[in-house]
Amino acid sequence: MQEIKREDLIAKAAQLLADGTVDRVIGWKKGEFDYDVTPAVFTTKEELENEFVWNDFCGANFSKYIKKEAEKSESKVMAFLKPCDTYSFNQLLTEYKFDREKVYVVGVPCNGMLDDSKIKESASGISSVTEENGKVVVDTLYDGKITLERADVLAERCANCKSKKHAAYDELLGTEGEVLDSKRFDEVEKLEKMTPDERFAFWQNELSRCIRCNACRNICPACTCEKCVFDNPASGVENKAISDSFEEKMFHIIRAFHVVGRCTDCGECSRVCPQNIPLHLLNRKFIKDINGFYGEYQAGAEVGSRAPIVDYTKEDLEPSEAVERGEENA
């Protein structure tokens, strides 16, 4: 259950459209079912009333759409942003990816989003997903109503939410939250405790499932190259096929390196992966290492901050020391 109601979001969007603050609204559009929500641009109150949705399945991060819309026109676009989305928003601003003046941000509190694939593990033939008394109630074709604990079907990234506090907004609806002390590095620690062989086997198993659909890259707020090197036939590394069963590690590891210090840990890569590869763990490993080597750093917490990896201070770890510490972990 979310704190703010759909009607309140529609009223806010309609007001901003009516008073001319913005002429487009990026929001979520309802689908065929309760869970298949699609990001969309709304321009009228009628569209909002007919198709806008705000429920437990509005997990999609709008970064790619904000960038695209901000480039489109001189007028402002409004975007509803959850706390985690605002970190991506700030990071894009830090990289000068769009003009801040073109976007009006309405912050919305988020109580965590649900993962429909987790719901489908317990329910088939889903007719509706609603909430009653803090529990998720799934009406099904075969087994009637199934009641699930919210915590059991929460998206992984939401179960490990790093912040309920917005890092940016022009206007906030509802109550502001706090930066949280999450357990998001627990899984990384498990990987660190493995032997190199075990870890290799873990990633080989995970990455060998990659079908190179590029969904992780295309949704990633940090992947904003105008032309990805892997899409460029002139680059010499353009590749839409997997040349061997473990070649995929190169694509994913290169991508993870490329977003180091810029990845806000929004978790979209893992959400969209059709093969359920836990790609976020690669990024979290880098974030954990940066925190350990250079002090706590959260990409997107503030606009204009310099990631330790591209910054220099006299206190910086010497490369040799980083290698030694890495070996301790190996």
Binding site: E32, F33, T38, G125, Y142, K227, D231, K240, I277
Partner: protein, 339 residues
């Protein structure tokens, strides 16, 4: 019709796999997938595999030819080899139908030898559906999920699997399993089919109608203004095309290993920026055109070239996997007018 009790299913798998490679759907942490039977694997009850069964006949990548240039000589190495027979067990009706759609492309003149080789050697043992999902819409395309056909058609009840040969290839395989199976009458199967058909009538997409699309409708839909809004949130990833059982586009490329050249074929996606890129560039400059291509191909171009047969089988994989939940059902409803 023959039957085998569920507790003897492992023996059936062992028998089949003793003569040829056998693939069955198994549950994994990442969803159901076809895996080679090794004597221990258990058949998944999942409605469908994450990736479709087209992979058996049209793999994501395959080597077509290798060549080596030395001075003025070119050495050409054939990579195609005669496949051995293999059996795919538990293919759903939607995927069985997808083979027919692929056949019309790859077996039409000029015949694709790589594909034909695998089709000739593959035996399809289908499995009737009993619990379709809310994302299923095979019936829109006239597919009966309770009669999935293939070489052998199976129906799984609470205590047995019923098997019926549908082709000569299937009859031969089924006969070779006679020691394990027994004769059965069709009453249990018929009762189950009737029950499942009732479920199909209640599915949320039961009323989805494709009749607005089809043969000769290119001009009607090509310039529809709706393509712009339908495609506006498309990320241009290849998920829908790669989980799709009927997507058939591919690219052929050379990979220089440093000492020889491998010419390989790999799946391509109309969603990608370099899809059908030619000397002058890509004919589809924006995602609107790329997006339109995918759905026009399935709903209009394919039927136009194939006696009205649609290029979609309603398996629902794209509905389940699209990162932003845009899919052919939403396209059909928006363009076809049936809300």
């Amino acid at each position: 019709m023959r039957k085998i009790s569920l507790d003897k299913l492992d023996q059936l798998f062992a028998e089949i796999s003793s003569k040829s490679a056998l693939y069955i759907p198994v549950d994994t942490a990442a969803g159901a997938k076809f895996e080679k039977y090794d004597g221990t694997k258990k058949m998944s009850d999942a409605l469908n595999t994450v990736r479709s069964a087209k992979d058996f006949f049209f793999p994501q990548t395959e080597n077509l030819v290798d060549f080596k240039v030395e001075g003025k000589t070119i050495e050409i190495k054939e990579t195609v080899k005669e496949d051995e027979d293999f059996v795919v067990f538990g293919v759903r009706a939607c995927d069985v139908k997808s083979f027919e759609i692929l056949d019309r492309v790859f077996l039409a003149d000029p015949v694709d030898n790589f594909y034909k080789n695998r089709r000739d050697h593959g035996i399809i043992v289908s499995m009737a559906c009993t619990r379709p999902a809310e994302t299923c819409f095979c019936q829109t395309f006239g597919i009966d999920a309770t009669a999935p056909a293939g070489d052998i058609e199976c129906h799984k009840t609470t205590d047995a699997v019923y098997l019926e040969a549908k082709t000569d290839k299937g009859a031969k395989l089924l006969k070779s399993l006679n020691a394990l199976t027994e004769d059965a009458d069709a009453s249990a199967v018929e009762a189950q089919k009737a029950q499942t058909k009732e479920v199909f009538k209640k599915l949320p997409l039961a009323g989805l109608d494709a009749s607005a699309f089809g043969d000769g409708k290119t001009n009607e839909f090509f310039n529809a203004p709706e393509w712009k809004t339908l495609s506006e949130s498309c990320l241009g990833c290849g998920t829908c095309t790669f989980v799709c059982p009927t997507c058939q586009c591919y690219d052929i490329k050379d990979f220089n290993t440093g000492h020889e050249v491998k010419r390989f074929r790999c799946w391509d996606s109309c969603m990608y920026s370099d899809f059908t890129r030619m000397a002058h560039g890509n004919p589809r400059l924006t995602q609107v055109e790329r997006f339109r291509q995918r759905f026009m191909h399935k709903l209009v171009y394919y039927p136009t070239n194939n006696e009205g047969i649609f290029g979609c089988v309603g398996c629902g994989r794209c509905m389940a996997k699209c990162p932003i939940n845009m899919n052919i059902v939403k396209v059909m409803k928006k363009l076809g007018g049936n809300k």
